[in-house]
């Protein structure tokens, strides 16, 4: 049994938090790939997170996390091929 290094885990993964249909947070992400009011595509550490819906808006964005609000209909995760 090997011990898991928590800090390494946090660095290597992104955390996606969804509050109902109106709010979503992505922590520890890489960049924004596409931005419109119906689709927001975010490049996370190991996958691409795609938010689809309408009236989508980035309420804030800083070095650590991003908050997306609007009417979120689908969230898709697409694995990034390295």
């Amino acid at each position: 049994m090997s011990l898991i290094n928590v800090s390494q885990l946090v660095e290597n993964y992104s955390i996606l938090t969804v509050h109902g249909k109106r709010e979503a947070y992505v922590e520890n992400f890489n960049s924004i790939m596409e931005l419109s009011d119906t689709l927001i595509k975010i490049k996370a550490k190991k996958e691409i997170v795609i938010f689809e819906g309408n009236g989508l808006l980035v309420e804030y964005m800083n070095e650590d996390d991003i908050k997306i609000v609007g009417n979120i209909e689908h969230i898709r995760l697409v694995e990034v091929s390295h």
Binding site: S31, I32, M33, E34, L35, S36, D37, L56, L57, V58, E59, Y60, M61, N62, E63
Partner: protein, 407 residues
């Protein structure tokens, strides 16, 4: 955007071009915080602080986007826009200055935890210590207030005074027991305050010199403060003076007389009322609505309405409302029954008043005589009461001194 962002100021920009997403990512990598980011096709709108706006030049150059300033929001831009409106800016600055200056003065006094003493009573006492509304809070000594309140009000067991902004907060705790030790050791005789007959006497300290059934006159000593110590053979070997204490009931007579005239005048209000308003500044009442009331006879009823911005803080200006009620004076005569009722009621009131003061009525021999012009009530009311008073004793000189003089 929060209040802090408003104070610092922020801008809303529109970014157009194919490299919009790249521009956003470069901004993020450069530590620029973006808010309310909305996008449609190749255009994105976003908010950022003024200081961050100064840092986006390199991102713009790299990505080749076009940046348009849509809106400038916040205090720096507001002041910039109104910089030529001198009086407006001065007004705001003067307002802030007055606020800062006035916040250094005492505007409220709050008393909490009091039930026996009223807040008004305590505030009046604090005012008498030269602590009043409008004085500098720095000149208020909370320690002095605490000490003085504990000293002045016996029932207060704990006081805390503190200044909170422009408010003086006083928290007190009162002693709920009534057992205040008021034992007085000063030598005192007990003397009769009225003529009468002693009904009962119970002495707790001192030497009684009267007994039940004795007739006494006002001023007679009933219990002496002088106490002699006797030895086994009944000889005195020492004298001491105490504070005499005894329950003494004396039976005494009150002479009662009362008269009532048959003819009387009364005010008949006509129902006509004139109203006026005024203002009271300090002790000066200014009536500014009515010149001179034209009624021949009238009563003035004045109602005051104090202006209190906070609890316990009244401005020295009071609104006054005047009501001039006209009346005419009419004369009438009481009937025999009415006269008898009036005098009976007066006697009852007198007796009730005596009983409320702990006086026991033994006999009431008041008679009502009704004549043609009026009626009189005369008689004696015999009562039992503790008609005594304390007086300092006449101290005898010490024995050895007497002996010295005889020699």
């Amino acid at each position: 955007m929060s209040l802090a962002s408003f104070i610092r100021g922020y801008v809303r920009i529109s970014v157009t071009g194919l490299g919009t997403e790249r521009f956003i990512n470069i901004c993020r990598n450069n530590g620029i915080k973006l808010y309310n980011l909305s996008s449609r096709s190749i255009k994105a709108d976003m908010d950022m602080s003024v200081s961050d706006f100064m840092k986006i030049k390199s991102a713009k150059r790299i990505t080749g986007v076009r940046i348009e300033l849509i809106r400038r929001v916040g205090a720096p831009f507001f002041l910039q826009r109104n910089r030529k409106r001198h009086f407006f800016v001065y007004g705001i600055l003067i307002f802030l200055l007055i606020n800062i200056i006035l916040s250094g003065y005492l505007w409220r006094i709050e008393v909490e935890g009091n039930s026996y003493y009223s807040a008004k009573e305590i505030i009046q006492y604090i005012n008498s210590m030269n602590i009043h509304y409008g004085m500098r809070t720095g000149d208020v000594s909370c320690y002095d207030i605490e000490t003085a309140l504990r000293k002045e009000f016996d029932k207060i067991t704990w006081v805390s005074a503190d200044i909170d902004g422009s408010r003086l907060r006083i928290n007190i705790k009162e002693n709920e027991d009534d057992t205040v030790d008021t034992k007085d050791d000063t030598p005192m005789d007990i003397a009769a305050s009225k003529d009468g007959i002693i009904t009962s006497i119970v002495t707790r300290s001192g030497t009684p010199i009267v007994k039940a059934g004795d007739e006494v006159k006002a001023g007679d000593v009933l219990v002496m403060s002088k106490v002699e110590s006797l030895n086994e053979s009944g000889e005195s070997f020492g004298v001491k003076y105490v504070h005499a204490d005894a329950d003494i009931i004396i039976e005494t007579d009150y002479t009662y007389t009362d008269t009532a005239e048959r003819a009387y005048e009364y005010k008949n209000y006509t129902g006509r009322v004139k109203e006026g308003t005024g203002i009271k500044i300090g002790n000066n009442l200014i009536n500014y609505n009515i010149k001179e009331c034209s009624f021949e006879n009238y009563d003035v009823v004045t109602e005051y309405e104090t202006i209190s911005p906070y609890t316990n803080f009244n401005l020295p200006i009071t609104y006054a409302y005047f009501y001039y009620k006209e009346y005419e004076i009419l004369t009438a005569e009481y009937t025999d029954d009415e006269l008898s009722d009036i005098l009976s009621q007066n006697i009852d009131k007198y007796i009730n008043n005596l009983q409320e003061n702990g006086i026991q009525i033994v006999q009431n021999s008041v008679k009502i005589n009704i004549g043609s012009t009026g009626a009189t009530a005369e008689g004696i009311i015999r009562v039992r009461e503790s008609a005594v008073t304390e007086q300092p004793p006449v101290m005898e000189p010490a024995e050895d001194a007497e002996e010295g003089r005889q020699e």
